[in-house]
Each structure stands twice: as C-alpha cells, then as structure tokens.
Symmetry: C2
Subunit: 120 residues, 2 copies
C-alpha cells in the first residue's frame, strides 16, 4: 500500500479503527473489493489501510464532503459488507468522521508545506 | 495496543501516516518514549498506532483542542524526536490535523452510538 499524498484542506476523513476476529472468513477478498468500489465513488480522494500482527487495524478514507461519505456508507454492496463485518469480521470498531483542517508533508516532497503553525 | 474508546465529539485528531526507513535505528525506544510523554500532555485523549509488515504505518493521537496539539508539537523532547525522524526514521510522512465531528462504535459496546446519520 502507498501513502495518500498531500491534499489541500479542507476535506474529510473517515477513521475506522478495528480489532479483527481470528481467521480470514472472507475478509481479505471483501476488503479488496470495497477498496476498489470506494475508489469509484464520487468525492473519493484516497485510502490508507494498515494492520498490526495482533489484529488491530486502522483504515483511513479521504473524501471531499460529508455528503460523499454518506453516499458511500449507503452504497448497496458496502451496506452488505458492513452487516457482515458487524457479525463476523470485527470484535470491535470505532468510526470517526473528521474534517481535515491542516496538513503537511515531509521529507521528500518539496512541493507541499513542510512546516505549519496551528495557531496562525 | 488497544483501541481508543468512544469519545464524545467534537475533539481533534492528528493523523500521522508514514513510510519507515529499513532497520530500527533507535526508533522503537523513541516511539515508546514519545507515547508515554504524549499521554502526560494537557488535553491528551488517546493514541493508536499500527504498522504493516511493509513499513507503512498510521499513528493517531486524539486531543481536546488545536492548542493542545500545538503544545505537544512544541514539547522539547518531542521536537528533538521530530528532527531525528525527518533525517533518519521516515522516508516520507503525511501529517493531517482534523476535527472529529461524528463517531460511533460497534459491536460490543452498547453504551455508545452504534448508528449515525451524517446528514442529520
């Protein structure tokens, strides 16, 4: 997986932090499918997903607006995946929707802000 | 690592997505130290950090306000760690500061919202 490059704020992020159940149980194939589907949604800006060996993971998806997030939440196949996730794949998860207000990059990307002042 | 439990919005999150250089080079000990220091900062609400086997990682820290984030960014030891990170530990990173506007939990936590309507 690669990092989602710098995007100019403001935009939105869905933070999905989860603890997986043991075993795959069809999860990997569905996660790949959902990643491809999300990328086709209007307002999609990017995606990052990482998981520790102990089953704790964080998936970040970036969007242009709350309306785009809502449309993805309600997408038909994604709704089915969410229902299976609730009963089979996740012991627990926390979902957070946040508005990105500031961003910077470093090192190796001189095109974008590399320092930032939260109090400006 | 455990998940940061549900927190009532609004609050703030720093999303640190990174690609590590090969080898430890003192990173693990410093990361542990920074985690402990962050937890002692005013306004600290929680912390999650995960990394794939390929070196891509996401660290999330939760805070009560932008001012608390700013104070942590400027904390003396943390400033030193950031400088070493820039030259030694990270091939690249993206930092995003975001305001958490909505959140829900599931399954296994009946005390908190388990559904949510972004358009309410």
């Amino acid at each position: 997986m690669s990092l989602t490059p710098y995007l100019t704020p403001p935009y939105y992020v869905v933070i999905f932090s989860s603890r997986r159940t043991p075993g795959d149980n069809g999860y990997g194939a569905m996660a790949d499918r959902m990643g491809r589907l999300a990328a086709q949604q209007p307002g999609y800006l990017g995606f990052e997903s990482v998981r520790n060996a102990d089953g704790i993971g964080v998936t970040l998806s970036y969007w242009d607006s709350p309306e785009s997030i809502r449309a993805w939440k309600d997408q038909a196949e994604h709704t089915v995946a969410q229902e299976i996730g609730l009963t089979r794949w996740y012991e627990h998860y926390e979902v957070r929707v946040a508005r990105v207000e500031r961003a910077y990059s470093g090192p190796g990307d001189a095109r974008h802000p590399t320092a930032w002042d939260i109090a400006d």
